[in-house]
């Protein structure tokens, strides 16, 4: 690459403002990641993978400021018992956090990943991210591996009695934050990880999840209500035989959110469900970019994404199922739908299937539509006012995604948040 290449100059301009932190025993992984960033270069507006979402504000040296939102709702997930791990503007806050000891799980800060103690996460940090760079480059994830200053490592060895809740508070309106977590679910272990909060003005988060044979992980997140925040998140999951991974994301507000999710089945009979519901009003762009690779026999993958858009809000979905040769009996499903509440909104969807095995069942669908007039009339004919009827139908549209969350209490809480969001905007 020539030096006057805009990608090279943009990349170097960004790297020049940062220093690779010395956190735990991750130096080698960071050096390798930095090498990947330089080799790939940071994303540019013309990149195929960034066709619908402009990357400029995600890569520019200075994060655009984002006002801290005065949240008048109690924090999501507050209702249930959970182990709280709190980050304020991307820095672990021991005072706000619970004691990290809990039966069935080992939780450490990233800085505790120490070479001399042969920490389990030492070999995992950056590994799944690096695997996830082919066939599609994800330079912002490599950037994260190189520069993340904080994060936790979570090793699930049993069945912890309560969910582990990562809470991301946003205080400084210029906060530019990198967090990197590493999760290992051992054979037969079962856990739930919750994430919530806006985290920063610009949040780059990476989570690497390695699930051993027969392990189960539930992951539910709510991305905070700050209107001006930006987030680019990467989730890399590697699934062993007969393992289960279920992830759901709720996004309300946020000027820019890109959630990338990369799932790889390496053992037979695994199950992965990735789902998301988002609601956007006005200056809002939400991008779900998903890549599921079936490289084992008899695995089931499901992608369910629903977006409600109004006042010029934009939704993006890029979802791919890759079935490698030999991954017979694959059951792959993908649906991405948008409900547009007016004529100003936009939804761009790119569903992809690439299949090299001959005995598989894969389906995908994508729709964009308005509120069903027949259903609306039916509800109104029973006396339900227009605004409430529209909200009922909007929640009904989102239901298929929210129902991917198995825990009833969590599900009800998520629905209540969506309902409140709609009610605040009712005519």
């Amino acid at each position: 690459m020539a030096l006057d290449d805009p990608r090279v100059s943009a990349t170097e301009e960004r790297l020049a403002t940062m220093e690779v932190p010395d956190v735990g025993c991750t130096a080698r992984a960071r050096e390798a990641a930095l090498g990947r960033v330089r080799a790939m270069g940071l994303p540019q507006a013309r990149d195929e993978y960034w066709k619908y979402t402009r990357p400029d504000t995600l890569i520019q040296p200075q994060a655009p400021a984002a006002a801290v939102f005065e949240d008048d709702e109690p924090p999501v997930f507050d209702g249930g018992d959970r182990l709280k791990i709190v980050f304020v503007d991307g820095i672990f806050d021991p005072d706000r956090s619970d004691d990290l000891s809990l039966e069935g799980v080992e939780i450490d800060r990233l800085e505790d990943v120490c070479c001399t103690k042969e920490h389990w996460a030492e070999d995992l940090y950056g590994t799944l991210e690096a695997r996830g760079q082919t066939p599609v480059a994800r330079p912002l994830a490599a950037l994260n591996t190189a520069y993340a200053g904080d994060g936790v490592t979570i090793r699930v060895t049993g069945k912890p009695s309560k969910p582990i809740n990562l809470i991301y508070m946003h205080v400084d309106e210029a906060a530019d934050v990198f967090l990197h977590h590493v999760v290992r679910v051992e054979s037969g272990a079962v856990a739930t990880i919750l994430e919530n909060g806006p985290a920063a003005a610009r949040f780059n988060k990476c989570i690497e999840i390695d699930i051993a044979d027969g392990g189960t992980l539930h992951h539910v997140r709510a991305q905070g209500r700050d209107h001006q925040r930006r987030a680019v998140t990467h989730l890399f999951a590697r699934l062993g035989a007969e393992s289960v991974f279920k992830s759901f994301s709720l996004t309300v507000n946020g000027v820019l959110t890109r959630n990338e999710c990369v799932v790889e089945f390496l053992g037979d009979g695994g199950i992965a469900h990735i789902a998301g519901a988002c609601v956007g009003d006005g200056d809002f762009l939400h991008d779900d970019t998903v890549f599921v690779t079936h490289d084992a026999v008899g695995c089931e993958s499901r992608q369910v994404f629903k977006k409600v858009l109004r006042n010029g809000a934009r939704g993006v979905f890029q979802g791919k199922i890759l079935v490698k040769s030999g991954a017979q009996k694959t059951d792959g499903y993908q649906i991405s739908q948008s409900l547009m509440l007016d004529d100003d909104s936009e939804f761009d969807a790119k569903p992809e299937l690439e299949i090299y095995a001959d005995d598989v069942a894969c389906s995908h669908g994508s729709t964009s539509g308005a509120i069903d007039e027949d259903a609306l009339f039916y509800l109104r004919a029973r006396g339900v006012p227009h605004g409430i009827a529209t909200d009922l139908l909007t929640l009904a549209f989102l239901a298929e995604a929210v129902e991917e969350v198995e825990d009833v209490t969590l599900r009800e809480e998520l629905v209540a948040r969506l309902d409140a969001w709609l009610t605040r905007r009712r005519d």
Binding site: Y378, V384, I388, L393, L395, A399, E400
Partner: protein, 251 residues
């Protein structure tokens, strides 16, 4: 109760007139039936009264208990006591039947300035009414009309009528798609709601529903007009001879 006066209706998007001067007066406590061949405008009449989009009233009007309903929003008409049992009840995936019923009832109460019903009272009331219509707990839990058989959908319409207790009920071809047993069940549900004040307008192709829901007055509608009005014997005449004779007679 319901007064329809010289009602003329066009389709909004096409240059087509559907109703060409319908006049009808339904007294409190009475059952009126409207029969007629396909395309006579029966369903249009029910949709226009309920407030569906796509129609333009060019002349005439309709009042419910003296109030002009054609100026009201659909939901206001419902709160004012008008109920349309749909020919094709709409499936609404993702909205639970109970949530739907409760939202509808409390919206109407709120609109009328009445107190909303508590969840406990509501549950008790619905269960009782559902039982007489042989609607089980599972049907109440499921999304509105999703996966319901034709008979179940129509029973669900009658349940809504029983819960909402409207003053004026319009039944649009409620008998279509019903077998004899289901029709009897639906008719029993309707008859149970006859209280001397509540009025019914039963739209049907066939006389058989009228064996179960006995009308006081029968109207024959054709080509956008009511062409003949009589007693229950008029329905029997249609059953016997079809519409051809009557159409000829008035032509």
């Amino acid at each position: 109760m319901l007064e329809i006066n010289n009602l003329h209706v066009d389709l909004e998007d096409e240059d087509k007139t559907i109703l060409k001067g319908v006049t009808l007066s339904v007294e409190p406590g009475s059952v009126h039936a409207i029969m007629g061949p396909n395309g006579s405008g029966k369903s249009t009449l029910s949709y226009v009264l309920a407030g569906r989009d796509g129609y333009k009233v060019t002349q005439g009007g309709a009042t419910l208990e003296g109030r002009d309903i054609l100026d009201m929003e659909t939901e206001e008409r419902a709160a004012a006591g008008l109920f349309l049992a749909f020919q094709y009840p709409v499936e609404i995936p993702g909205v639970g039947n109970m949530t739907f019923l409760r939202t509808a009832l409390n919206s109407q109460r709120k609109a009328r300035g009445e107190k909303e019903m508590s969840a406990t009272d509501f549950l008790k009331m619905v269960r009782e009414k559902a039982r007489t219509l042989k609607i089980d707990a599972d049907m109440l839990k499921r999304p509105v009309n999703v996966g319901f058989s034709g008979g179940e959908k129509k029973r669900n319409e009658i349940l809504q009528m029983a819960v909402l207790e409207p003053q004026m009920c319009i039944l649009d071809e409620t008998d279509s798609g019903l077998d004899v047993d289901a029709m009897k069940l639906v008719a029993d549900g309707v008859n149970a709601l006859r209280d001397g004040k509540r009025a019914f307008l039963v739209i049907t192709h066939y006389q058989r529903l009228l064996n179960h829901i006995k009308p006081d007055v029968v109207h024959i509608m054709a080509n956008g007009r009511i062409i003949k009005t009589g007693g229950p014997e008029l329905a029997l005449e249609v059953e016997e001879n079809g519409y051809a004779d009557i159409l000829e007679e008035v032509a």
